[in-house]
């Protein structure tokens, strides 16, 4: 189940994203997995998500995979220094990732899409606070990787 659920989630979301709803759900998934899972597991899911997305959208095969894995890495690096406790920091991470991904892949930047992604991520933050709130007191906000 540990493998099946994320796999189906990635497969389903990349299908929905490329067929019916052109919203970058996989970006949210990469951010959430990056916060909730340790390396190399989070890298694996980011990589697979990118590959499925490239496959379904006929993009340069492997390109999104490289971008998603890099996002995951830099998010882990970012969490070493900064906290994601505040909704503004979560929003900042999402907006930067969304703009960067759109710019790198030549994807259209849509305000409504960004707002929907922000709403989803903030909802996840309120439902799964433990993913965003670091529990390391004195050490600051470092995440145990």
């Amino acid at each position: 189940m540990k493998i099946v659920i994320p796999l189906f989630l990635i497969l389903g979301l990349s299908l929905i994203q490329t067929t019916f709803l052109p919203i970058n759900f996989l970006l949210i998934l990469v951010i959430v997995f990056s916060l909730g899972k340790k390396a190399p597991e989070s890298f694996l899911w980011a990589f697979l998500g990118g590959l499925f997305l490239d496959l379904f959208s006929f993009k340069q095969f492997g390109f999104s995979a490289v971008i998603f894995v890099s996002f995951d890495f830099f998010l882990k690096l970012y969490r070493q220094r900064f906290s994601l406790d505040h909704p503004l920091m979560v929003s900042f991470v999402l907006i930067v990732s969304y703009l960067l991904y759109s710019w790198l892949t030549g994807r259209e930047i849509r305000v409504w899409e960004g707002l929907i992604l922000l709403f989803i991520l903030l909802s996840i933050r309120f439902l799964r606070k433990e993913l965003f709130f670091s529990s390391l007191g004195k050490e600051g906000n470092r995440l145990k990787l």
Binding site: L55, F56, Q60, Q80, L145
Partner: protein, 263 residues
């Protein structure tokens, strides 16, 4: 601000794996994979595009909510079979209709065409033919005598398009007035069916209702229809004037279009 060595190691492993895939794909070593997956994905995207254009929420909801009985399931099976046949017939009919329109269009007799299916994924447009059908970069895409765009990327069984309607696309054009005057300009796509023709010399006469056609270059044939002028924006002491135009065809509504293979 240092990450554990294990994280850095795995990041480099996945990065290397990703770049290897890109490299092998560039060399064409993953052609077999594209040949294997693309036909299924093309039909998936064509069906989803078709569904999106004919979405019926009420019909779908009642279908899911209706009681299941043996009689209904037998009938549904028959209906499903017939729908399959019908959709095949519809596809043929659509192709015949589009071909008839093309035959009726005022285009040179020596031009050769390849009928292709067009579909949209996120904000990009694709056609269901690629290297296998001999598609080449820059081939123009038309519907009747209306220029839609050109091929900018060719894969095994699909090709990516740059349409006139897409944001950032530029096509050199002529604006034909009813009196036969031809002004030159550049058509810039703005997304959807609105566009703008810029760099029209201020002394040229452009009016609402004038027809915008392609000026022609290496890859785009001349005199293919593009749009109609809706509004002319002229400012004092400016060298150039602009025109807001409406494209003649919305590519999102099309299923069968034609590539010009020889001219």
């Amino acid at each position: 601000m240092k990450l554990p060595g294990k994280t850095i190691f795995w990041y480099l492993v996945f990065l290397l794996l990703g770049f290897s895939i890109i490299f092998f794909n560039q060399l064409g070593w993953l052609g077999w994979w594209q040949r294997l997956t693309q036909p299924t994905l093309i039909s998936l995207h064509s069906s989803s595009n078709h569904l999106k254009n004919n979405f019926n929420l009420f019909g779908d909801a009642t279908r899911f909510c209706s009681d299941q009985s043996e009689r209904i399931s037998v009938l549904e099976e028959e209906v499903a079979q017939l729908t399959g046949v019908l959709s095949q017939l519809e596809a043929c009919q659509e192709e015949i209709k589009a071909t008839r329109r093309l035959l009726g269009a005022p285009l040179p007799a020596e031009w050769q065409f390849l009928p292709v299916k067009i579909f949209k994924i996120e904000s990009s447009f694709f056609i269901d033919q690629g290297k296998k059908a001999g598609v080449e970069l820059g081939w123009p895409l038309i519907y009747e005598n209306v220029y839609l765009g050109k091929v900018i990327e060719v894969q095994e069984q699909v090709s990516k398009l740059e349409l006139v309607s897409q944001e950032g696309s530029k096509v050199s054009t002529k604006i034909k007035s009813t009196e036969g005057i031809q002004a030159k300009g550049i058509l810039n796509g703005l997304g959807k069916i609105q566009a703008e023709v810029s760099q029209i010399l201020a002394q040229e006469t452009v009016e609402k209702g004038d027809l915008v056609v392609t000026a022609g270059d290496e890859s785009i044939p001349p005199d293919l229809a593009l749009a109609k002028v809706e509004e002319v924006i002229k400012e004092k002491n400016e060298v150039y004037q602009k025109a807001k135009v409406r494209l003649l065809i919305d590519p999102e509504q099309l299923t069968i279009v034609f590539l010009i293979t020889e001219r």
